[in-house]
Symmetry: D2
Subunit: 494 residues, 4 copies
Amino acid sequence: MFDSLHEECGVFGVWEPQTANVAKTTYFALYALQHRGQESCGIAVNNDGLMHYHRDLGLVPDVFNEARFEKLGNGTMAIGHVRYSTTGQSARHNAQPLVIRHVKGPMALAHNGNLVNAMELREKYELEGAIFHTTNDTETIAYTITKHRITAPSIERALEAAMYDIKGAYSLVMMSATKLIAARDPEGFRPLCIGRRSNGAIVFASESCALDTIGAEFVRDVDPGEIVIVRENGKMESIRTHCGSKGHLCVFEFVYFARPDSHIDGCSVQRARYNAGAILAKECPVDADVVIGCPDSGLEAAMGYARESGIPYAVGLIKNRYVGRTFIKPTQNEREDAVKIKLNAVKNTVAGKRVILVDDSIVRGTTSGKIVKLLRDAGAKEVHMRVSSPPFISECFFGTDIDSKDNLIACKMSVEEIAEYIGADSLGYLSVEGVNHIADTARCGFCNGCFTGNYPVDPPKTSGKNRFELPLSQSPKAMKKREMAKNERENNDE
Amino acid sequence: MFDSLHEECGVFGVWEPQTANVAKTTYFALYALQHRGQESCGIAVNNDGLMHYHRDLGLVPDVFNEARFEKLGNGTMAIGHVRYSTTGQSARHNAQPLVIRHVKGPMALAHNGNLVNAMELREKYELEGAIFHTTNDTETIAYTITKHRITAPSIERALEAAMYDIKGAYSLVMMSATKLIAARDPEGFRPLCIGRRSNGAIVFASESCALDTIGAEFVRDVDPGEIVIVRENGKMESIRTHCGSKGHLCVFEFVYFARPDSHIDGCSVQRARYNAGAILAKECPVDADVVIGCPDSGLEAAMGYARESGIPYAVGLIKNRYVGRTFIKPTQNEREDAVKIKLNAVKNTVAGKRVILVDDSIVRGTTSGKIVKLLRDAGAKEVHMRVSSPPFISECFFGTDIDSKDNLIACKMSVEEIAEYIGADSLGYLSVEGVNHIADTARCGFCNGCFTGNYPVDPPKTSGKNRFELPLSQSPKAMKKREMAKNERENNDE
Amino acid sequence: MFDSLHEECGVFGVWEPQTANVAKTTYFALYALQHRGQESCGIAVNNDGLMHYHRDLGLVPDVFNEARFEKLGNGTMAIGHVRYSTTGQSARHNAQPLVIRHVKGPMALAHNGNLVNAMELREKYELEGAIFHTTNDTETIAYTITKHRITAPSIERALEAAMYDIKGAYSLVMMSATKLIAARDPEGFRPLCIGRRSNGAIVFASESCALDTIGAEFVRDVDPGEIVIVRENGKMESIRTHCGSKGHLCVFEFVYFARPDSHIDGCSVQRARYNAGAILAKECPVDADVVIGCPDSGLEAAMGYARESGIPYAVGLIKNRYVGRTFIKPTQNEREDAVKIKLNAVKNTVAGKRVILVDDSIVRGTTSGKIVKLLRDAGAKEVHMRVSSPPFISECFFGTDIDSKDNLIACKMSVEEIAEYIGADSLGYLSVEGVNHIADTARCGFCNGCFTGNYPVDPPKTSGKNRFELPLSQSPKAMKKREMAKNERENNDE
Amino acid sequence: MFDSLHEECGVFGVWEPQTANVAKTTYFALYALQHRGQESCGIAVNNDGLMHYHRDLGLVPDVFNEARFEKLGNGTMAIGHVRYSTTGQSARHNAQPLVIRHVKGPMALAHNGNLVNAMELREKYELEGAIFHTTNDTETIAYTITKHRITAPSIERALEAAMYDIKGAYSLVMMSATKLIAARDPEGFRPLCIGRRSNGAIVFASESCALDTIGAEFVRDVDPGEIVIVRENGKMESIRTHCGSKGHLCVFEFVYFARPDSHIDGCSVQRARYNAGAILAKECPVDADVVIGCPDSGLEAAMGYARESGIPYAVGLIKNRYVGRTFIKPTQNEREDAVKIKLNAVKNTVAGKRVILVDDSIVRGTTSGKIVKLLRDAGAKEVHMRVSSPPFISECFFGTDIDSKDNLIACKMSVEEIAEYIGADSLGYLSVEGVNHIADTARCGFCNGCFTGNYPVDPPKTSGKNRFELPLSQSPKAMKKREMAKNERENNDE
């Protein structure tokens, strides 16, 4: 409903002695990673080589309950996934983990990211007789590994070989009958870290906040290009064939996607956001009475802005604590709008004041406009909007849903025009130079393709969320027919 | 809860001009076929080459509702399936229709029956890099067709070629992007018929009762070995390469599985059941006051028995109309038992009488014993049980759940011992000779393997419901480990 | 969906030593009484004077589950109710048992029937300051008992006194903190019987089929006008102040409402239906080839007709076993109609035959017309309809939903006209004289008001299902306004 | 799960021209008031004198959906309620609004607060023949109004008279067939305000944040003791018979219950919380590096403390955004505890620092102890806890769930002992003098009974959540029996 960006997914994996319950450990970890994907979720448990799993549309606490855990049973390993669809319809059959059987037995995969050559690989496999059940990249990864598995001496060697074939962003957690494996693409687009519990359990998670929630200690990040294997006995090994690059972590993980209490590749997310605000204050100063942040992701940057500028920070917007649940949408002629239902201005903070409103990004600008209006209605004299990241000017092909320039206001308007469009007295963005320095303690490089159009990996020839949903037959007649039917197809669902 | 037999599945397919709603037509047809499978169901709609589908555990009216139909949308073709699991766990991911994409685009399949060489085919495909998402035979059929599709000029020619590879029982309804196809294995183990509606729609259904429900006229049965193709424009064609055998229809379709208002291969099911009762009366006469049938499938045979013997027919057992819904199971120390909740004796009919109780079959004998007791408690002086089919002495490999001799009382006891076990004053079964003549107007031959151990197609080397759920790895260590873990695995679920 | 009659309710009560589970006993009994009411159900458990209860819209197996039973807990008494609304909207707050607190503590009531003076009593109590939460008669009964309870020495004496005030039909099961009580109005309009289990439990139920289901022995019917009390220690007593009348049991209980395996007031329901068919054969003979019954309630009468007439009985209509669940309604321009979805003709039985179709009643005639068409479409040469009860010519005020003459076809057409309307070759009804003799062993008299317009108790001045839903204010302005708004109100729901 | 305090309820009422949808307006307002009660909710719509309503256990967005709104229909008035049970079990039949019919027609009531003489009134009415369906005070209020309504010329005059009888806390919104009425008890314990929308609609709400959400302008608070009537034509009137007291608003509304964006009786809640922190900083200073607040209610006070003390404010605890949904509870031997699942420390903020942790209150101390540990585990060198309200030393009888001293740690330990118990290096509470001055612009007086034991209205003789659930019968035998059964009863539920 809000015109915000979405991260594709969160992944988790655990090897744990049988005395604990791997399904529940995964459940609590996914609960901590819920912000990375709210459409569907799933857990697969490996019990002596048999994979029991459940996945469905919905939030983690809605999809799983005690009865479900009884059916899942226990085991020594589990992997889990939360998903916001970027590739493939938001259908139940696209939920992960993917659990399949191949020549060497069962395999389960959970994947965060986006391949750039999934289409090419699918076409190749289909010509060899492959059938696909889903439209997500994970199945393509599964096939690639399987193809190599026929000859490879082990699952990890098959994965190592597959990593020469698959291009793009992937933070992957997978299980064979006897091993738990984590891998990160050579650029390290998406985060992935390793933790350990005092009972000896080894866990992999998209973000360190999941480790805190389950009481695991942070060990280290999985390196870009690294494959980490946990054997049946809990022994951990690493394959570093694809390592070497300093990597290009998505900088927007720091700006917006990750939770502020996570650490990624050596930097606290909170620190990076605070820095973003402070740099923004230097780059785009303005005389005002109060600095407020847009909940939740703009708060840290607002504090940084306030501290750097010396203008007092205060809470100017309250978010309804119960937002997140589906609710009845107000119709056009009803007065309530979605923004009002979710956010309310604090009159005591803004009335009669010149307000600096800090938010993490502007996508289409509609929501920003409504928030500016909310503040004016509450009596703000001036509203100066400051954005703690640069303008979006290009698509992302690596696991977020900015899949087309069509929805990006910064592709169509100048900063001044946007300011006018959203009704702000002034508008300032963080510079690309600035955003590159927010995660000052990080040991990795960054992908800032959405701000610059420069990508560390070549973008795909065909893209779009539904690129696998179209018929493949090549007759010109079908092509033409398809063209005409295209518009109506957009709304189709499972 | 009752120890009865279960048919595997019911299938349905429709090609219909866009003015109608193919999803709803399928819904009503599946509702009429619900008796063929109560575990899961599904519908796939073909809209200009895009397949939208929904499938879930549950009965047809519980799985589908108006909101679901809106999501499914409309199209020119649809196929549907109801399922009682014989191969594969009763898990949601095994629900059908199977919808996949292969080299030539999308394909949807719904299948009734059981292959005898699925294991061999799976192993072969896995060695070529295939991955399997389900444990049902339908995916194996899909792969076989796909393998041939790479070179075949059309989907129907790929199916024709595939039918040389797949062995066993299959009544299949499938869709490609542009065609609706029905096929029946060369023995015609499971029924499949063709109908037509006055709007020009062409439909395929497991039983003719589905045609009546949707107001379609019966055209003819699909012949054993026949492939029937309906093109985009509604034109119907036939490929008869695999035809020729008179066929071996499962005779138990007449005895129990099918609805009495259906006609299969030229014979009314009701007529066959009535005949079964009449032959039974000749073969196993007994002096008594009243003939009653066990609802619902024993009623027709009871009437046949009554007419032939001259002993009056009456209603002696009432079935609770609301049975079929899940209900709380009575615990051991509660007085109510499941049979009492479902059935009640009519004292007015049986008190003080010598009663002939006609039922279609005895599997384990537990339920029969309880029903005999019910009648005695209601005052029956004598209870003579008559069974309108021969004793089960062998497994079925062609789509029912008699997958092991372990549960078959007739493999362990003589008729006299069974009579004593169930507490009947006498017990008589229909002879094999007799059962072969019940469907007197049918133009096909019969499979009576469960009564004789003689099968028209060689049985598989490996069988059992969960034969694809075990790890494939071949190390002796794993084999041994598996052996030990085997017992616990039985209870595992999705 | 079918234009059939509906019984209002079924009631059940149990006193049982704590070793059993009274809630579950009630559950299984309600399951057996489900045919008496499918809209809502409820159970109240008395645990040492505290009443825990649950009630909701839906069928018994859908409303109750193990989690619900855990919340209900156990106790020494319970009462239960299934309901089809006659008075009051089909709203959740009208579900029973009613559980209230009055001057002497808690009281729970479950009631089958309809008062004729509920309106007058409500108005009287409201003038004394009473407030009403529901629009059903049970709350009026509760108030009447409560008014007397202030001075009465015991709950049973309060009920005894209340029975002078309340007029109409009521079979009542109730609990105080320490007693289980059953009562039947002086005419005994609705059935109510007493049973006993081998563990000493005493139960009350609307029909004896509920006793069979829970393994209780039939003791006797509650007499018209009788109050039966079960004390904390299981001791049973009777108050017979209001007894004396031979009673006027609703004869339609035998014709249609009750289950054929029940015995009411000394007669088997099955026997009565069979007799109805036999008398009908004498009164309305016709030359034909086969007699078929309309499932489920017309089957017994059809057999009686067949035996008496010498024309063979056969199964001519098959009812879908899964009917009863809500399903998608076919829209006008879809071919499937509700009757086709529920019923199918057996061609083998009717094709080329002169068919006698026996059903229990005709209300509006729409369904009968569709069934006749079904038979003709299946090839019936002639269809002669025979009805095993007389034509409905008057409303019922005693607990069924024939609440207005508007829907009764027999009020508007002659028998010949009805025959033409439904498309039958001939039509014959059982006579009033005939229906009075169907329950030949019953020891009670009958109410046949719906067939004659003669009622054993004076009908109410105001009637109609929603008579308590209208504002009570008496201003002429409001009256007029109400008149205008009336039509739209009909559709309103909770 | 957290040992926090709970507000009883939130209420809302609206009169609106038919062009809008009063049910939806109420829905969005209740969504904004959800923080005042999460157990159950309900909406009643008045359509020309007919009240349609729905209420159930669950959150507002879970209980209501489009289908529900269709059933509710539209009207010119509606009232709504969110509830956290203080009196009566958390059962569905205790959900509000209460909708009843009395001598003058229908009446609907929604109530926030607690009476102190409900028991006495109930006993009196029961002796006059009243029956009670619920165990909440609202039904007692309904009876009191009804008793006066028999003779009173109007509903508002009946309410005016009733207000002499009912004692305690009540903010009430009610509807008759033609009027919408709001009333506040003479002490004004609970907030209630009036708003107006640009379409002429008049609304009443517990808090002004609900007005903002639905786009209504704040008009004024309802005065303590005032009755406000809105007639059918939207004309607003006031009865001030019970007005005069400056009032005793619950001061904890400012500290914790209300949303920070609300204004109550002339003061911003945010301002009051900020003030509380500032006064606390003066009263309980400590040398430290950073001030953090406990989300969500401690944040404002933490900022006030920071500003006053000059110690920097930062975000030290992150709350999982999806908390609020039911989730699987970790068992004892699982590592995850509920606090860890909901909260996580930000290492970047607290590691190596001396931390001041500000929270609004301490009830049992368990949660505070876990949060202190969380901070220490994240590396905090010192943790100094500061509480922005005085210690709880007495029960509340006016609408919160501090119903017994048993759970109040401050009744059993000194401040030093509590500090040790929760593991803090120091602990400081706001003084009673201090809390009285936080809402510095409020025009009302305050109830601070929970901090002092001094109440503006005499407390009830009998209290406790379940006080109406016990049998009323007075025999010594029953009393003794009840005594013994008491312990087990605690756990009983609907």
